[in-house]
Amino acid sequence: MAKEVTLDSSVLVSAFVKGDKLRPMALRVMEKVFLGEYHVTTSAIVPVEVCGAISRRAGVDKAVSVKRQLDKWEDTNFIGYIELDGKRRREATEFAVKLQLRGMDAIVVQAAKEKKAILVTFDDEMAEKSKTEVEVLTSKDFEKNSE
């Protein structure tokens, strides 16, 4: 049975940047998604953040290709998104306060908590602060000999 996971933007941006030092681990995550081992639900803000990060650093045309790829993954149910409504915003705010998280970190943690999903993030600070609320996997868990 597929594991429920929530992907942080750090994993997706890493997967989309050839040469990124954590990309081999990001590809192992994506392979599990494509194999159906991971069922991904994340915040609807994540693709916005991913495309923005890529557009600003690599250019508009690259971000357009990334958006197209993310749309394809959504259409084939590799990734599902949850919208930020009032209830989720309040819960995310509580996490931001309690765990001293950055706002976007808290929104992603809220999505993982709600879906009872494993949070996959390559941001070690976010992982450390979130682990009291959700199960967390980091890049280290996807290093070649870690399974």
């Binding site: 997967a15 590809l27 392979e31 890529i54 790829q69 950055r102």
Partner: protein
Amino acid sequence: MTEKYRSRVGQKGQVVVVKELREKHGIKEGGIVKQISTDKGVLLVPVSVDALLEELDAVAEDVGRSWPKDVSAVEAVREDREKLWRRK
């Protein structure tokens, strides 16, 4: 092309591909198939995990060429998140 199987189309367009054809063409539960419109109907082509990774690789290759060498993905996301909340 010989007709061997017929299927009834379900409420949302679902069609069961018979076991023999699933096995023959590597169509597995949770797997992905491309739907291609042809003159004779819809052609289902299984998409392998390798093909999906290659597709991702092609996009990443292009992005990687323009991405600043001294910034990691994690640093980029962290920087954006910090800027976002500093602006408020």
